[in-house]
């Protein structure tokens, strides 16, 4: 059973039925799912969740789908790791890595896509589609395969090889579009108006976006039913930042955690940081940019949820940080060498931003801090390829001794 009531416009609050709709026809505002929280709080307890499956479906009462069409390829309940080594380097005693790069298709996108696939089946769609900066297309293709649906994935030309192969293997129709993400997004918005497809991040967006709340739920549960002091979250469209916050607030509202004093920090790469710029210049509107960054998974110049990320930053007293491009691959290595976690470029942006937040005294040494690592490094190997050094030896003891200096 689902506790979903209706869709509401986030801007003018007009209500809509539960359908594949994402835009208010009066003001063009985004639509959001509304739930019967009273019923949820009468149903859900810490115990009922703890006894649930070890995946996102343990939080089903907070999700906009019933379990009838559940598609499970093992998404969610990813490790929350006490990052003692990196913490020691940065001067943080309670630094945790939420390692979401170990989801089935190796990014956090499996969370929203699992939910959207179930909803698409409920709406009787036969085709899943998406516009992607790379991670989403792998997830959509994987879930479509499991759900026996067709999939079409659109992406900007020039994406990393690992992301194209990591989607292609599941059998989608891959469509590389000449242009940047924002160009592809515009095209897909127009296509979604006329095709009877479930475009996960266009006409299915209200349901899709809810999936990212589960990151907030998991972190609170894994910390022993409490909200962290700080979250450092990478931002492309800005949706993830807002939805982690929504997850924490929902948990408080139904009494699962006591309070939320979390500061929601937002991280973007310097070469594509429209949300950071708007926040730091105290603007209420996002001014779009043409992305020029190696962090392709964050290269959205016209972020759909930017205005809401700005609100979340303000409400939670968070900070917005732009990571210098040259620090991204360095920080990928830093995380790998200290914590044994190999992240993609977005993770490098998060670690660089975390370091800056500590330097600027935004985080105290005892604060419980979560760095969200949302994608896997094997997908963006190109950016650290230049750092690879290895020794070539002959299969002889002598060659080993001559080449390798054992100290």
């Amino acid at each position: 059973m689902s506790y979903i009531k209706y869709l509401t416009c986030k801007q003018c609050f007009n209500q809509y039925p539960i359908e594949p709709l994402n835009v208010c026809e009066l003001c063009f505002g985004p639509l959001e799912v509304n739930y019967d929280y009273e019923k949820i709080s009468n149903t859900v307890t810490r115990n009922s969740i703890s006894n649930g499956p070890l995946n996102i479906w343990r939080y089903q009462p907070f999700l906009p789908v019933s379990l009838d069409n559940m598609i499970d390829i093992g998404t969610g309940f990813t490790p929350l790791i006490h990052a003692k080594n990196l913490g020691e380097l940065l001067g943080l005693k309670n630094l945790y890595i939420k390692n979401d790069s170990v989801n089935p298709s190796y990014s956090f996108k499996d969370r929203p896509v699992a939910i959207t696939t179930a909803k698409a089946l409920e709406f009787d769609f036969k085709v899943l589609a998406c516009v992607s900066t790379g991670n989403l297309m792998g997830s959509v293709a994987a879930h479509a395969a499991k759900a026996k649906m067709k999939s079409y994935v659109f992406f900007p030309t020039g994406l990393e090889k690992g992301k194209i192969i990591g989607s292609s293997v599941y059998g989608p129709t891959l469509i590389s579009v000449d242009g940047n993400y924002d160009d592809v997004n515009r095209l897909c918005s127009e296509l979604a108006d006329n095709l009877k497809w479930a475009f996960v991040n266009v006409n299915m967006r209200p349901y899709y976006a809810e999936g990212s709340k589960t990151l907030g739920f998991e972190v609170a549960e894994q910390l022993g039913w409490k909200a962290p002091d700080h979250c450092v979250v990478p931002a492309a469209s800005g949706e993830l930042h807002t939805k982690i916050w929504k997850g924490l607030i929902e948990m408080k509202d139904v009494g699962l955690i006591e309070k939320v004093n979390t500061r929601m920090h937002l991280a973007q790469p310097e070469g594509c940081s429209p949300i950071v710029k708007a926040f730091n210049n105290q603007e209420s509107q996002i001014i779009p940019v043409k992305p020029d960054t190696i962090a392709k998974s964050l290269a959205i110049g016209n972020p759909a949820s930017g205005p809401f990320a700005l609100q979340t930053l303000k409400t939670s007293s968070g900070s917005a940080v732009a990571a210098p491009e040259e620090e991204i691959s360095e920080c990928i290595q830093l995380l790998a060498e200290t914590e044994g976690i190999f992240t993609e470029t977005a993770g490098g942006v998060v670690i660089s931003s975390l370091r800056k937040l500590v330097k600027n005294n935004k985080i105290n040494s005892d604060d419980i801090t979560i760095a969200f690592i949302t994608g896997n490094g094997l997908k963006t190997q190109e950016v650290i390829e230049h750092t690879v050094k290895y020794n070539q030896i002959q299969p002889t003891y002598k060659s080993f001794e001559q080449t390798i200096n054992i100290t």
């Binding site: 801007q11 994402n22 835009v23 208010c24 026809e25 009066l26 003001c27 063009f28 505002g29 985004p30 996108k109 998406c130 516009v131 992607s132 900066t133 991670n135 989403l136 242009g179 993400y181 924002d182 160009d183 997004n185 515009r186 897909c188 918005s189 127009e190 979604a192 108006d193 006329n194 991040n201 266009v202 006409n203 967006r205 492309a236 469209s237 800005g238 949706e239 509107q285 001014i287 779009p288 043409k290 998974s297 959205i300 016209n302 972020p303 759909a304 949820s305 205005p307």
Partner: protein
């Protein structure tokens, strides 16, 4: 010859279900004025009370966001394609 304007679903109730409209004018604001003449109520759906484009509406001329051009005063010429796209669509 005129400009082709692609109409998104939320506006099709006003355009009698049309998903494409031809209009003429030398700037985007003129094009919108002309559509308003034929389909009253069109303008108020995409403009706010200060006659500015609503914050959740994006307009493109031949694929270029008008915020990178001259906004509503961007030039249009015969054969151009104008797209009206909800800002909240997409994003990853």
């Amino acid at each position: 010859m005129s400009v082709t304007v692609r109409i998104p679903t939320p506006l099709r109730k006003i355009t009698n279900g049309l998903d494409k409209i031809s209009a003429s004018g030398s700037s985007l604001s003129e094009i919108i004025k002309e559509i308003e003449k034929n389909f009253p109520g069109f303008q108020s759906r995409i403009y706010d009370e200060n006659n500015q484009l609503r914050s959740f509406v994006n307009i493109y001329i031949n694929g270029e966001d008008i915020r990178f051009l001259d906004g509503l005063e961007s030039n249009t010429k015969s054969g151009d394609e104008v797209s009206i796209v909800p800002a909240v669509a997409g994003g990853n």
